[in-house]
Symmetry: C2
């Protein structure tokens, strides 16, 4: 099989950093030694190490080796493109999702612009509220093009839309552009959320694309400010 050897090695090494087999500050084995240990070529090891470096697991030091970085503070996931369900599964605590609205609509001009579609394109409108420890703190407004997602049910929205798209429909969610701003509370925010006297919400606008580069989803995720936290890892120069 000619598939994903480097990705498997990446996963295995990343696991060893997460579970503490490799400690922060330590040097991992050299590329030659890893190549021998995994019975593969140095180039394949280098692809795995490049991924680790890009995701903040290691720092490569020329002439010395690769040192393990401290990822404990980061509280994963580090930004990335992760669905709420996947995020919730990684956390421990009382987290609930309730579907407040679910229907097929024709887009208004604002949505036409966000989804770059015509007024005739049918769109799934899904409104969900995320509850943490009994407090309604996130309002998710999803809009999905029926052209790409022909069938959808309220039941699926209560679980995970992404799992349905990837596992049932066999589509591949590829990338997203996101924008974070702070905006005044709307009436809708106050209806659905426990705003606790906050006059503003943090708005995360997500434009999500499939692997053929077609835009299929626009999501507006509205967070109560005191419960919002975004963590990112960024490299200055690319390698």
């Amino acid at each position: 099989m000619k598939k994903n050897k480097y990705k498997n090695i990446y996963e295995e090494l990343a696991g060893k950093m997460k579970d503490g087999t490799f400690q922060p500050g330590e040097l991992i084995p050299s590329e030659h030694e890893l190549a021998a240990r995994y019975e593969t070529s140095r180039e394949t090891i280098r692809k795995a190490l490049t991924l680790l470096s890009q995701n903040g697991y290691i720092q490569k030091l020329r002439g010395k080796g690769s040192v393990v970085l401290d990822t404990s503070r980061a509280s994963f996931p580090i930004s990335g493109l992760v669905s709420f369900k996947e995020l919730a599964d990684q956390m421990n605590g009382a987290i609930q999702t309730s579907v407040e609205e679910f229907r097929l609509i024709l887009p208004d001009p604002y949505l036409q612009h966000q989804l770059q579609c015509s007024v005739k394109e049918e769109v799934w409108k899904v409104i969900r509220v995320r509850t943490f420890d009994g407090e309604r703190v996130i309002l998710d407004k999803d809009f999905l093009l029926k052209k790409h997602i022909p069938a959808l049910t309220e039941d699926i929205c209560g679980k995970s839309i992404y799992a349905y798209i990837e596992q049932e429909l066999g589509l591949t969610i590829s990338f997203a552009k996101k924008e974070i701003t702070v905006e005044p509370c709307t009436n809708e925010d106050m209806d659905f959320l426990h705003t606790n006297g906050f006059a503003h919400v943090v708005v995360v606008r997500n434009y999500v694309y499939l692997d053929d580069a077609s835009l299929f989803q626009y999501t507006e995720s509205r967070h109560r400010p005191d419960k919002f936290r975004f963590v990112d890892f960024a490299r200055r120069h690319m390698k």
Copy 2:
């Protein structure tokens, strides 16, 4: 010279997307053709295209080619690790920096924790205010370890600390971990900023590292909410 051929090609192709030589939706030449055109190997071209893909310039379609994505909406820089001076240079408008405080201190327990240093390590404390169109909207509190940055002047802080570190000191700023939250205004915020009645500020905490993986800077960037905007590009699966 055995250096950075792939990075040069990346820069050249990225430039063609920015200036419109390559239009969104278009297919760029195939890897074979680019290899011939640049008189290099396919692997070198692939490294350049991988960078373009990671930074949201193109989407690679197996069996078809690489399609140019629309980066016009993104309004660069897309997250990344960019100094304020570099960001300001790309924008047009009346932007000013004023240094409000500049001195050498010994860290209190909070700073010791943020910078992971002892109470004896001297730290440069720099407080700067960023003014847009006459409004004081960002308060930057920088703390730099003297161990790594032995000399610093108020004049440098008024221009660009990063330019000084990289060009004068010859150090390489490598990566940063950042965290975005929303927090109540402090007295300091109200003293230095035109808070315009806002009760909260957006706080961006930056932990910045050199290329030997040593932490040298902790920055707290406090933004007036209505002027804050963060744009990110994220891929779901890594390649």
